[in-house]
Symmetry: C3
Subunit: 644 residues, 3 copies
């Protein structure tokens, strides 16, 4: 599979006269893919049933004729106003009980049957018309599920659907009462019809209630997406993708990915740094024009795994794209600086280094109207080249003699499990603690050690072939997973909170967690810590935020200055009982790396590396040149070395 | 009265097979009391009228037979779902107008007549069945009135009840208009039926309107509680308690206490430190594992006074318990660290030193399900001893030769008045200023000087026998109270804001406050200050936050560097015109202590002391050993010395 | 026109017996004006149609007979409760959809036809009765439009009125769709009746939608005010004013001012410093008792321009007053300190220096009831003189031989445009960026350079006669305005964001902004910056928060250390591409001042100066004496020097 470039285009935004010239300029810039259509419903069907295909026919024809391959989006993220008039209760409802009104995008509740029917209808019509179009080489369902906090809805439709979901999951309401521990505060139900959504309660609702609602909400997305996929499949054999958004964890991307050929995501490094990475103020300042050095890479590795969820590839060979790549300042973060020159190229190559098939810049031309008018494009609004297009052209030239996508299993794996993120969020026990943050911190430490990493779903069949597997913070593991990890030949690192809950969010307690076969470690108590009370470790590093008291016969690898065990190992299994700071995590990685026979090298700040089957990449995320393997790598620099 | 220990237990949470063993282990650990039943309504009455007493009969029998005394709770804090289905408008309504839904606890509005009837019914049934049970040695009404901000409700039921309350308080709406100054912004009413609740107004509502609503809301709790007490009294002669929660000031605890034999409170030192003490970041760090050194003691002294509100004892002899004592990390604060070893014992002894009859640990066994699964107990969820039970056993042993509860009037009194807290909150005039905070700061200074303190209600008949009485921040005093304080033989310290409002929240203005007989001091103007503008005093210390300009012929005790009087004295009356920092408060206490002939000793940081009739206690709230009277008192140490 | 003093009085708050004495004391204190009546509706008309004029007749007679001139307010800011009972849907609705209830003031939606009729009726009755009264020498409409965030309402009435407004502005919904770029996210409407208000959308609504709603909301105020003015004009020839509130920018004050003879504003320097100036913490500390040294002056100059909006005077001669002047601590800011002695006098003279005809102190006597009981007055609540009255008397004496109001055009002008403030707020692109803040920072720099400044509306006919005109941040300029600025003989300073949008909030893009005739500068890209990433300029100063990349053939005046142009000049036009810090702004002012032939002198911190036709004023806003032109000016000092 060739490495390719692309862009996102909105023919409906521009005069038809310039489409052809735009297409020619895209081809000149080395672009292969052009994504269109995902926000165009009101132009396709301005009033109910009045379908206007002509303009879209012509647009696809013009673009395709120029040599571009079209990725066609289903337009369901932006139902026109008349759809809402037809189904006034289709709007999602926020946690305060207010409907989330028409006037922007994603204004629908996943549980609304009427809207789902509208989606069936419009997707069917689009698929029917373009499913066999030779220029349409891939499809995208909807757009950025979950963006703007749109997975969870407290609507009437959601309430009814949730009750049905509960009926299907639990044999009876008595079973549910018991599974949730509803006796606790006389919260027992007499029937499923009494169960409300867990918002606006006097104090926190039963976490089991919340967790069930989180699982339900995720499942609704899977159903919604699959409805579209099933229809598309009737009309096309082109691959279908969805463009996930960074750090949206409110639904299980693996579950959605299981119905899709390609995973893709929308990568906005500078927006993310300001908006959702969770970096320190110092890091935000140091990386203000480069973005976080690990956040994008983490998502690249994650979506490679999501791309493999369909099950026809090994995890390391999942098909994935960057569907939207930031090309300049965006408009939506608290602060929106310009990227350092070279970063658009770096981000592009970084994606390729992690196995991307395609990187598409969002968007072709900066739009001078509506919400995103200060979101940069490859062209300025006056159609003059913007800075990013020059970097795209450089990549175009560099791709000429570069290898194709060359997947290779990494030596180290890191598990990322969506349900664990919901579990931590449901009961964090300490301010600021999140599963995503813990996994990202682990990923950072692996990367600082120069490692190439695969991210894995929590599945028993994916662990083979790794020297080390990190499974931080997974709060619910089935017995099958536990057995697979115990039986693995890899060094396996668990904890904290491993197995701390069952699937319903009840604490297994006989024995206490982690109850891991082959590992005599028990969590007897746990505490959370204010940021000003780190607990120093003997030998360096500290625990911050979260710490368990553990006991058992396993060997102690790390301990507090007071002598309490923090990391314990037995056989191939290591349990890490707290949230380590950078130094502690580096020590843990070094210990495990040593045991696993991994080749580690501690990298300078902001330098990252990754291997493909035949190449070693180096990336400099800093504003200064840094010596890497004897040569200076400039700021925002990329080096690609053939592996021999 | 013997000093005793106890615990809180939920037989409905555990298999019946282990009740007996649990009971035996409680007895072994030295426990006397076992509180049960307060959240069990859905097991007593799973559906309307279908009463299931058998399990509770057996539980009480098993526990009683083992030698434990049962405290039986009325289950009205957690009405089952079917009660809400029957009375959908019984839910309280928040300030934004949203009903506070079923799914946790305390989901009721105190003003709802239908729910009050349900309470009458279920309390009557429980009382009838167990009122004469020999194992039931005490009762608890409901649970933690006001926890989760549940006193104030903006429901329709509250609106109607408020109008009735106003009709009863004011002869006519004209009288109300005049009393509230409604002419101010044409806020005059033509009838009581026009009066709404004071939420969601364009800008702040009339403070008189707010204050009336606060008084009404408090009165509704008193009525609600008395309904239960009156029913219980028909069936039992066992003492009745309520378990108040720390720093809940939204209703008048003295008024509720006037209908009860015993006051009790729920003491969570570490949770409080993070959540509601109002300590500085430095104090939060220093006391993270010990809790604030004064906050619990303050509540102990407060509830001794609340326990005396029934009026059959002097204030210093009020009966009170700790109904729930933190035994390890809790689950509900922003951060939840483990206590320093020894603190559970310290907290227990501290309560006894302040006159507690009983200290009950919450809870017996950590629950592995629902909201509080990370709240520690005396046992781990797997029934293994948790750390706290060892400290309980140590107290058990130490109690053997310790004296019984020995009340003694303290030399110093500090007035705490709930209505003043509402008044400050209604019109704080400066960010972060609260009456509770001012009183706590005063209490801290008294404690730093080594004093044993009684807390008093604002009542004319309680001032006798003290050498000094501190009455900071009381915004409304009746003429009778003023006369009693003026006539007192004690040194009386008033201010700031003394007598600043009448009962309706209007400023008395001819003459200006404080208008205190025997004290020629007038507040001519007042100002509030940002934290970065302390006003230094001559001789040390500073005023922060709040300062009045005072004038008059009284003697100046403290003055600003610019020479403005800050504390003035005439006869036995001293007026303190501002909120002193620690150094200023220490100087004030020293001055008053000198005049009153009090024995003062400035204690090292974190060391506190208290005398009973025959014992002097020392407590070390720090993490280091400290020399106290020639001997080292270890971290978390308790010393009990016989007074000769 | 003589410079005069006045006060605000509420006869309805006080016993009739003291009116006469109050009036006599006012006259003694040198007061000329007395504003009354604006909150008295419930006393004029306690129940529908039951009119009580007698008390007001007598009040006006008593005050007038004493020699005072009455400013009579229309009472429409505080409709009585019965008006709301009659029109329950007249309440404004907040952004969350909650009605903003009765119980304070300003509880009405400007778009409610029924309430507008009530206003017509009551204003007609008041005007009829007092329009010819010889003591009523001026009128005030309503009170502080916009205070408490009351311009924007999301009510049903507003929704319907907004649709009508849109119908009038756009020929058809297709025109609107195109003008707003609604195709962007399929936001196209089929009819005006589908257009909702832009609140509670899933993510940000179309900024064009928001901007139209802002324009509409402003227009509703103009209509509301004009209804009253038209009625008053039928009965009186006395001048009509409105009292605007500081930093309320939600409606266009020039538009309202076009219907009024006099602009007035309510000046609360200490409240503003804590509440809305946007000063740094250091400035808040340094000026805690003096107020910001530029904020009041800015409003003085602004309201002189608003006072000229009626069009019968040059901008520099606009008639304006301070209708409410802070006399001591207020009650509504986060912290409410006392003014430094002398500041009340300083604030009064500062207003006169900027051309005020009258300064009225708010209020005569501190009210001991309702919301503002801690708002100081000229008298204490017990009628004793409060500190401010002594300073008022000093001004009274100083006025005896002072010149009358002597307007003179300033050498420098600064444009302030309300619509630009809405535009920046609609799409700030960076946290904390506001148009008001940018203009105030520019004003500060001009004042630090010792300049006397006129503030101008964005109108083509007001630019003559200035040596320099600063037009920072104006996002929409008509071609006529652009031409007038280009043709001006003044040095004109534009940018940043000049011409960045059209009137509908779409970015002009062919060519890109600013597209200013005579200035070859193009904004090719822009970025916003976190506070920790200032961009240093060669030669000193830095850009903070906001920076554009500019290109073109104009001369570079300022550039970044990396060499990027930041300020460029061509002919008389200078474009400033970023938000300068203090040092950068001082450099810009120095450069422009040099080119314009302005006399500049950099003033010490907190010292400000202003010239009238015959006087030069000096004001010391600091707490220390400062040498000014060879003499010491004491803290809070005022010096008035005759210009020769």
């Amino acid at each position: 599979m060739k490495r390719t470039l692309g862009t996102c285009y909105y023919p409906e935004h521009w005069p038809e006269e310039i489409w052809e010239q735009d297409a020619a300029r895209m081809v000149e810039a080395g672009l292969t893919w052009i994504r269109i259509g995902e926000f165009a419903w009101s132009r396709i069907e301005p009033t109910p049933g009045d379908l206007h295909w002509d303009w879209l026919d012509r647009a696809i024809e013009v673009l395709g004729r120029a040599g571009l391959k079209v990725v066609l989006g289903t337009p369901t993220a932006t139902p026109p106003r008349w759809v809402v008039d037809k189904h006034p209760d289709m709007l999602a409802v926020d946690a305060d009980g207010n409907p989330r009104k028409f006037g922007s995008r994603r204004h629908y509740c996943f549980s609304h049957a009427g809207y789902l029917d509208e989606c069936r209808r419009i997707v069917g019509l689009v698929a029917e018309r373009y499913g066999a179009n030779p220029h349409v080489a891939a499809w995208q369902t909807d757009n950025e599920y979950g963006c703007h906090d749109t997975i969870i809805s407290y609507s009437d439709a959601a309430r009814l659907a949730f009750r049905d979901w509960l009926r299907a999951r639990y044999d009876s309401v008595e079973v549910l009462n018991k599974a949730w521990g509803n006796i606790f505060w006389s919260m027992e139900y007499n029937s499923f019809d009494q169960i409300d959504l867990p918002n606006l309660t006097v104090t926190e609702p039963n976490p089991a209630h919340v967790m069930a609602f989180r699982r339900f909400s995720s499942d609704q997305v899977v159903v919604f997406n699959k409805v579209q996929v099933d229809i598309l499949k009737q009309h096309t054999s082109a691959p279908i993708a969805h463009n996930y958004m960074g750090r949206i964890t409110d639904f299980d991307h693996y579950d959605v990915g299981a119905d899709l050929e390609i995973a893709s995501w929308d990568s906005y490094p500078l927006g993310f740094l300001e908006d959702r990475v969770g970096a320190s103020l110092e890091e935000q300042r140091d990386y203000a024009r480069q973005g976080d050095p690990d956040f994008q890479a983490f998502h690249h590795d994650l979506y490679r795994a999501v791309g493999a969820a369909k099950g026809n590839q090994p995890v390391a060979q999942g098909r994935w794209w960057v569907m939207e790549q930031q090309p300049g300042p965006v408009n939506w973060a608290p602060y929106n600086p310009s990227p350092l020159p070279g970063m658009v190229r770096l981000w592009t190559w970084e994606a390729f280094a992690h196995g991307a098939e395609a990187v598409c810049y969002f968007r072709w031309r900066q739009a001078p109207f509506a919400q995103e008018q200060l979101h940069a494009g490859l062209l300025r609004p006056d159609s003059v080249d913007a800075p990013a297009i020059h970097e795209a052209r450089q990549v175009r030239d560099e791709l000429i003699d570069a290898p194709e996508v060359q997947p290779k299993q990494a030596p180290v794996a890191l598990v990322f499990d969506y349900a664990s993120d919901w579990m931590w969020a449901t009961q964090p026990q300490g301010q600021g603690l999140s599963y995503f943050g813990l996994v990202l911190d682990t990923y950072r430490a692996l990367r600082r050690a120069g490692l190439t990493v695969d991210i894995l779903p929590l599945r028993a069949d994916v662990f083979d072939g790794y020297k080390a597997i990190f499974v931080p913070g997974v709060m619910y593991l089935s017995d099958e997973i536990k057995a697979a990890l115990s039986a693995s030949k890899a060094q396996v690192v668990l904890g904290p909170r491993t197995g701390a809950r069952d699937a319903d969010f009840v604490m297994p307690h006989a024995p206490l967690p982690p109850a891991m076969p082959g590992l005599d470690v028990t969590v007897s108590r746990l505490e959370t810590l204010r940021p000003d009370m780190p607990i120093a470790l003997q030998g360096g590093g500290a625990i911050t935020g979260y710490l368990e008291e553990i006991e058992g016969s396993a060997e102690t690898l790390l301990k507090t200055e007071a002598g309490a065990p923090v990391a314990m190992r037995q056989g191939n299994l290591t349990y890490m009982a707290g949230w380590g700071d950078g130094a502690a995590m580096d020590r843990l990685v070094a210990l495990i790396g040593g045991a696993a026979g991994l080749e580690l090298r501690q990298l300078p700040k902001g330098i990252r590396t990754r291997d493909t089957a035949t190449e070693r990449f180096w990336f400099n995320h800093t504003t200064e040149a840094v010596e890497v393997e004897g040569e200076m790598l400039p700021a925002a620099g990329v080096r690609r070395v053939a592996l021999t």
